[in-house]
């Protein structure tokens, strides 16, 4: 077996073994350390000696042994001043896939989003601390501190390792999906482009979402999120030029879109919409599928995109949805209608200075023929964005309307 496939196998098995251990022993921190050690042992032994017949059982046995050693030495320390605590007897745990339970734990509501994403990538994604640090462009010590603090907080919160139930479960699953969505987006918004060894967070988010989808195939929001990721990822080669400049959706070379991902994403988006309950990811996936369906930007079914944004703004209202709806509305009814809808966002203090509002307004002003207004808004948007690529793009648009 090659090194690459051993690595893949370990990354698949590690979260399952960790889940089984935590369910049996609690002590998330210690279990995590034990599994990391077992994975390390496997990574050195398996390529040389061959993969054992039952690799998951092998990992679990090695990890459990490390963990029990750790528990024993902790207890030995305590025993010196107190009575002997009943020592936990390692027990065969069922081979059930505990990945989902692990995700619930890593996306615990006491953690910040940054800690949830880091812990998820480490415990469920099987990435090393160094890899996660590279992915977020921070020093390894910074990421190590963040992960260790996250584990402490989970322990302090006294979280029992059992699946949340009822309304709590729905809310916790919503957090899990949001964390996966954040990991996916991080892959698109923070990449430096210069670090070839930077893990592909978008691909990793898709892999993790596939795992969740495998566990909850009938949850239409999970299906919707996976579809949304695939349909967005399908455009990755067309969204930037060779020199790293951004290409807006309307100007992308659609022959460079990944057909296989679009087909899979479109099928999933359709399946998700057939579900009993409508959610924001399903709707966003349906919108992405509508765009994917158009061979050229001109052929886009804008009335359908607008209708979907309208539903989205009813079930999950937020200023960004209004912004996107204004773009669609302008395509259907003309720029004046889009600008009128944007005006409703001016009272929102956070939104009024947001670069997205400024850049969408600039686009619509340009289309309506108000080039001076468009210039002002493009320039203001360029000043407001934190993305260098976006700033370059907005400045080039500003230069264009100035002529």
């Amino acid at each position: 077996m090659t090194v690459a496939t051993t690595e893949d196998l370990l990354r698949t098995l590690a979260p399952q073994v960790l889940g089984a251990l935590v369910r049996r022993y609690g002590r998330f921190e210690d279990c995590e350390d034990a599994v990391q050690e077992a994975v390390l042992a496997a990574a050195t032994q398996w390529p040389a000696q061959g993969v054992p017949d039952n690799p998951r059982g092998w990992l679990r046995t090695v990890a459990a042994r490390r963990l029990v050693d750790q528990i024993r030495s902790d207890q030995a320390r305590r025993v010196r001043e107190s009575v002997t605590a009943a020592e936990p007897v390692p027990e065969e745990v069922p081979d059930a896939d505990d990945t989902l339970l692990l995700l619930f734990l890593c996306c615990h509501p006491v953690l910040t989003a940054a800690s949830q994403t880091a812990l998820t990538l480490r415990a469920v994604g099987g990435l090393t601390t160094a890899e996660i640090a590279r992915a977020f462009l921070v020093p390894e010590a910074t990421m190590a501190a963040r992960i260790s603090r996250a584990k402490q907080r989970i322990r302090t919160a006294g979280s029992a390792f059992r699946p949340p139930e009822g309304a709590d479960r729905a809310e916790r699953l919503r957090v899990v999906l949001h964390v996966l969505y954040l990991i996916f987006n991080e892959g698109y918004t923070a990449s430096s482009g210069s670090d070839l060894h930077r893990p592909d967070l978008a691909a990793e988010a898709i892999r993790l979402t596939r795992l969740v989808h495998g566990q909850l195939p009938d949850d239409s929001e999970v299906t919707g999120l996976l579809a949304l990721m695939l349909l967005t990822h399908a455009r990755r080669h067309a969204r930037t030029t060779g020199s790293g400049d951004l290409v807006p959706l309307a100007e992308q070379d659609r022959t460079r879109w990944d057909r296989a991902l679009i087909d899979e994403g479109t099928a999933l988006a359709a399946a998700a919409l057939g579900g009993p309950r409508l959610g924001p990811y399903q709707l966003q996936a349906a919108i992405a599928a509508t765009h994917a369906d158009a061979a050229t930007a001109e052929q886009t079914n804008w009335p359908q995109v607008h209708a979907l944004y309208l539903i989205l703004s009813r079930i999950a209202p937020n200023p960004v949805v209004t912004l996107n709806r204004a773009v669609a509305l302008a395509e259907v009814e003309g720029p004046a209608a889009g600008l009128a809808l944007l005006a409703t966002l001016d009272d929102d203090e956070r939104m009024a200075r947001h670069h997205r509002l400024l850049s969408v307004r600039a686009h619509l002003l340009e289309r309506s023929g108000d080039l001076a207004g468009a210039y002002r808004c493009y320039r203001a948007a360029a000043r407001a964005t934190a993305s260098l690529a976006e700033r370059r793009y907005l400045e080039s648009r500003a230069a264009r309307v100035r002529r």
């Binding site: 940054a114 603090r149 918004t189 290409v247 912004l323 997205r356």
Partner: protein
Amino acid sequence: MKFVISMHINPAVLDALTDEEKAAIGAGHARFIEELKESGELIVTQALVDPSQAAVVSVRDGQPVVTDGPFLEAKEFLGGFYLIDCEDKDRAVELAARIPDAAIEGLGIEVRQVMFSDGTLEA
């Protein structure tokens, strides 16, 4: 999100402080660094030498010209910075407020986001 928290200091203001006040600033920074390290939000922090030690470099007709600094003649100058990675701007501002300089009239603390290279264009 990454932010630079920069400290703009004024030697005249610093000189007017008592020894106890100066020591309190030092201790405050040490405590702040420890907190940031523990929370996993610190990327790097550095203090800079006095601007009288700065070299201003320019190239004229292809030849480098080096003069003694500083570039800007001002009462305040960049004394040092923290590069942090935190949840959002609100958090960066909350952290900046813990820097002891922030409580002293005449010293300035500035928070600015660090730009990233990629971006999204959905509309």
